[in-house]
């Protein structure tokens, strides 16, 4: 599975990458983007199988990225890893087409549990 990790923090992209490697998810490749706008370009150029995305980013937020993808007919699997934890934001994410919503701080166990929806 090729995964696109979208987060404006390099440190968090590395943490997500390391945590993914600790799960049972079969990861063949990881590509990165620093915001939603850059992620749109990477979706076109890299054709990932899954997007794991932060919520708050400069240029384009994660929710705006998801809604842009869905409005264009792109059904790519998409999930959030974010410090936003309010029920309203989680609901918006799921109603917009996210498959999972992981709140920071997370562990390998909580990430693995959330990713079971992909099976």
């Amino acid at each position: 599975m090729k995964i696109l990790i979208v987060d404006d923090s390099k440190a968090m992209r590395m943490i997500v990458t390391r945590t993914l490697r600790q799960t049972n998810l079969q990861v063949s490749a990881i590509v990165e983007a620093t915001n939603g706008q850059e992620a749109l370009q990477k979706v076109e150029s890299e054709n990932p199988d899954l997007i794991i995305c932060d919520w708050n980013m400069p240029e384009m937020r994660g929710i705006d990225l998801l809604q842009t993808l869905r409005q264009s007919g792109n059904a790519i699997r998409f999930g959030f890893v974010t410090s936003e934890s309010s029920p309203a934001i989680r609901q918006l994410a799921m109603e917009s087409g996210a498959s999972f919503f992981i709140t920071k701080p997370f562990t390998a166990e909580s990430m693995e549990t959330a990713l079971t929806v992909l099976n």
């Binding site: 590395m14 708050n56 980013m57 410090s83 934890s85 309010s86 709140t103 701080p105």
Partner: protein, 146 residues
Amino acid sequence: MLSSQDIEVISSNVCRDMLGLNFEVDSPSLSRPLPLQAAVRISGDYDAIVEVSTTSAAATAVTSVMCGLGPDNIGEQDLADALGEIVNIIGGNIKGALPGETTLSLPCVNLENSSDEPLSNGSTVFADFLLVNEPFRVRLSKSPRA
């Protein structure tokens, strides 16, 4: 307004449980200014600023763990990124515990020997910790309404 104990729990979940860092609650001591500072703003039904402040040694150690870099390979951008992400996660969890609908800003980081004065003059609650045996403070300051 949250309590210092709430801040202790949130900060421990981030620094100890997620990042695996050596992290413990310390005695509060505002007389000890800390030179590096990162902050996020909470806006909406509740207005506040969440700040973390610490030493260069702690920031370097934290960045090394988060980024998988040796201390000699860490630049200012890496420090700013790591501190910014820590305040983003702590701030996001504090925001989640506050009433009403609110938004969280992107983090702002000051690596240049800040005064460590609160960024807001409203009521403040804080907690002091030892992060990798260095002082680390998390402060929640409510913004006074205009």
